[in-house]
Symmetry: C2
Subunit: 248 residues, 2 copies
DNA sequence: TTTGAATAATTGTAATACAAAAAATGGTTT
DNA sequence: AAACCATTTTTTGTATTACAATTATTCAAA
């Protein structure tokens, strides 16, 4: 019996497809296109974008599709509409940069290096505290899962495979955010994953060193030692050599 | 000449109305209603919600409006749709709790006390680091604006007015997030504001003490002393007495 | 100058029709 | 019986048209 393990796993996880199925639907494609015009500064903050019919013609889509695209962008804080006035680009201060789809849309617009180091600037704030909270609040099941994941890390390190390691690394950090059992930390799992997948981040250090850093975090959380978990995470993120974008 | 200062100011700021104009449009009302069913657990994760025509009848709206509502919820990570299958509630791990509109929708669902203390759990991670970054990266204009805002705080403290103080307090913290000049910190200004407006948070300590805490943050940032700014912020947020929900 | 009614431009909502995707069905072949 | 393939069926996706609601603009009147 041949197995399509990925598909089966997706079904088990109640996911339709791994990620947000990229851009199958028309309105998402249109939204992405407009979003990038806004994010790049092509459409200026505070300016009124062309009216719906004009945009329909520009993109060659129906008003239905276009309006759904605009609703999507409104939801991200990029646009706001009113009858008779039109649809306006809102001030940058209201853009939801913490939305994974927004992050995908940034791909190739701003300097990836800058963008990633900015992200690291947030990660350094959030993740150590997440580790500290996880050490305290992780459930029994979550601790079991964490040890299973760390086991995998050890195995992969033995004969190193970049892709497999990225996968398990992400699931490691994602589980930590989940293990805070704090709703406000949950989204960072997706944000981190999206950052990795769109700006292909490689940890320049393979194997031993990196595994050791993870081991320190892992053991501190398992021991319920929040201070140690936090310190280990700070150390992990401060060794500023790694996690630079692959390009250039 | 009579002045409608608020409206004039809104026009100056390029805002259509102060906040996201709540629920003027039909599709937002529908979205809110469905969102609350999901957030409350009434609609279970992984389950398929009724098909579009059924929902149209339930809400008494057209398919156009209903679909725009669903697109909004999809954008927040709550739903995902596919032809022939239907629209499914996605796993909680993918919900964007860092979206201001999502936070509004939580009002009255979960225990406000728990929710607010969870938020404080994130704030304690993010805000001290934001202060540290602001101390380093704030522009000249931002430093000027910060001192103006602090001036206002002093004035308001002299004859205390709760509402006015909340207003200026929020603008103080918002400006700090902006002054990091880091895209990923920007959204926290809106998140903080939304948390305050929907879960009416009162700082139990008025006047002098609180002003002093802000002064320490303010002076450290102005001096460019990131370590001191961070420490002052930690202190400000650790005095765990304040910022509890008003209800009960 | 101010007021107020008419106008016009744009988004908001509705209704209908058809296209596309994909599971489910059932019959055919191996 | 098992595998395969075309057919059917269900649901969302897109297009089109029409009309309602909102509100800036215009222009006339007081």
């Amino acid at each position: 019996m041949r197995i399509e393990s990925k598909k089966v796993k997706d079904i088990m996880n109640n996911n339709f497809s791994n990620i947000s199925m990229s851009s199958r639907s028309l309105h998402v494609q249109v939204a992405r296109s407009i979003a990038r015009r806004i994010l790049s500064g092509d459409l200026e903050q505070g300016s009124i974008v062309p009216n719906e019919m004009t945009l329909c013609e520009q993109f060659g889509v129906s008003r239905t599709a276009l309006r759904e695209a605009i609703k999507l962008l409104t939801s991200k804080g990029l646009l706001t509409s009113r009858p008779k006035i039109g649809t306006k680009v809102v001030n940058r201060a209201y853009w939801n940069f913490l939305d994974p789809q927004m992050i995908e849309w940034m791909d190739g617009l701003s300097d990836a290096k800058v963008f990633c180091s900015q992200f690291l600037g947030l990660r350094r704030a959030v993740e150590p505290e997440a580790c500290a909270l996880a050490a305290i609040h992780a459930t029994a099941e979550q601790r079991i899962e964490l040890s299973e994941i760390f086991q995998k890390m050890v195995q992969i390190t033995e004969n190193f495979d970049q892709e497999a390691w990225t996968e398990v690394d992400l699931s490691f950090h994602r589980l930590i955010f989940n293990s805070t059992n704090n709703d406000f930390y949950l989204p960072f799992g997706n944000i981190l994953t999206t950052m990795f997948k769109t700006f292909i981040l490689h940890s320049s250090m393979h194997g031993a060193v990196c595994l050791n850093e993870h081991r320190l975090i892992y053991e501190a959380i398992m021991a319920g030692n929040s201070a140690a978990a936090k310190a280990a995470s700070v150390d992990h993120l401060q060794s500023g050599k790694h996690r630079l974008p692959e390009t250039e």
